[in-house]
Amino acid sequence: MPERMDFWEALYSRRSVREFKPDPIEDWKLERILDVARWAPSPENVQNWRYVVIKDPEIKKLLGEMGKVQASMHFGEPPYELLESRLWYLPEEIKHEVIEMYYDGSLFDYCAEAPVNILCLCAEGHYDYPALPPSSWLEHLGGTGPLMMGILNMWLAATALGVGAAFNVFPVLDMRDQEYLSHLLGIPHSWRIYGVFCLGYPAKEWEIPPSRHPIEAIAFSERWGKPWVRAELRDPPELPDEPLPKKDVFEVIYERRSIREYKLTEDGKPVPIPDWKIERILDAARWTPSYMNVQPWRFIVVRDPEIKEWMAKTGVETSAAAFGEVPTYEFTDERIWYLPKHIRPGVLEREYDGRLFDYCGECDVTIVCCHSTEQHQDVAAVPGMGFWQDLYCAWGPQMMAVQAMWLAATALNLGAGFNTFPVIGLGNNEFITELLGVPPSWRVTYTLNIGVPAYARMLGPSRYPLEAVAFVERWGKPYIRGPIMQE
């Protein structure tokens, strides 16, 4: 029988496990872990993700060596003090040993000893939806972002199943290593490896969690710089008025939906959500993985009806402009092939005129998500990495944090919808940045909208079967699910 773990327990217990026992992972566990990656959010249901499961000791050894070399090159460069200050939260008795492992790269050679390596890929050109012009923003939004969200799903599932995991980018940082690996494993040029997700039973009982900023340091109320003070610390304190709902982490992952219609009160206002629930949702973001513990995320909790109304209007205009450009009705219709025929015309119409993205006005809270630009990423370990630095130090952790908040909302029986349209488009981003007082060193990237769902959304988008998105040992050899294989 599958093991069960409460969502919050999985979220807070998740660690980067880098030392593994040699014991193999049971096939059913590996399948469950891979399966949840398919249920990450995917804009336009493009499913721009592929996974290659590697158990071959030779390939794992190669990945381990590549990881060690790259890590030693990066961490060998900066002054000792810089690295030490980054790891300020570690107890003195282990800190220096850990720093040595950064310097010689041995902290990142664990692909070799992890029983399972999963190469995580997405494609630049796979997001062939013409609604938005090609840009690195689109690449992250339609490619690496959903990939990172899927990796977080896998990480939480692994934690619940007692399997340790860590995400290692070093084996694929050097484009020459990328090319060699792609050649070796038959990966087409259109797909790029963004990291290696390693799995195995933890060698140690415990890992010290990295310290994180308190909520007041990462979340603001209505505008940048006005801390969102935790309800327990207010005067008088506002304590949770009901016990925390407990839900299995797999249930939460499979039940998550994009909620775009929210319940309103009789006078047409959003149904209010207690602050402690918003606090829980913000808290979930804090405990997502963060490269070198940079924590490149900030959130502005917006309830101001005027600002939300502006975002709703802008969401409609921007999305209508984007979807209105799509060449043919059939093109869009084909994208939502999985919906029952009788509701497709209505959905398409709402995409074309933008109403599908007007929900910022109806939900109780819009969380405006910001991530740091290059200035905040002062990790000397990755100088001049450009796109990669932006991915690993900003977009990647930010997208994982959004996914954690989305799952947290689901666990609290609330609805959440991810909407980037209100903050993109000519002048919109600059306007909201100025309106909310966001400094130029931070980038407003998207909104996560939270409210009480108008109705339970049962139907989720259909996803490709595991065999179509996961391969074994090399590209194109499908990962066949256990029950199908037995038959």
Partner: protein, 121 residues
């Protein structure tokens, strides 16, 4: 064997001592510094409690789970009591799987200072 009530009683005494002892209040102020406060949660067996420390040097104990915490210590009541009374090192008990730490482990140092001031100061 310790029970969850023993942990609660100890934390109640801590809160009372902080209210009475200026040195303990100073330890709280020094620890909280310019933050809005600190929240330390405990799960002892099947019971949850949490302590809130405020910038004015005060402390309060509540039943249940907080929505967000700085440090969350979970374990069987006996192990927790041993940690709180300084008879066992948290790292040793973590290694044995007796307790689990969620959140910011470094906050344990500030909390220990407050405990010391409240009980021994």
């Amino acid at each position: 064997m310790a029970k969850p009530e023993d942990i609660k009683a100890l934390l109640q005494t801590l809160v009372a001592n902080v209210a009475q002892k200026p040195k303990a209040q100073d330890a709280v102020k020094k620890w909280v510094n310019d933050y809005y406060g600190k929240i330390i949660a405990f799960k002892a067996g099947d019971q949850d409690f949490f302590l809130v420390f405020r910038p004015d040097g005060s402390a309060s104990l509540y039943d249940g789970e907080p929505a967000s915490f700085d440090l969350y210590i979970r374990g069987d009541p006996e192990s927790l009591l041993n940690v709180l009374q300084g008879r066992a090192r948290p790292l040793d008990l973590m290694a044995k799987g007796k307790i689990m730490i969620w959140g910011n482990f470094h906050e344990a140092a500030g909390f220990t200072q407050v405990m010391t001031a409240a009980f021994l100061g």
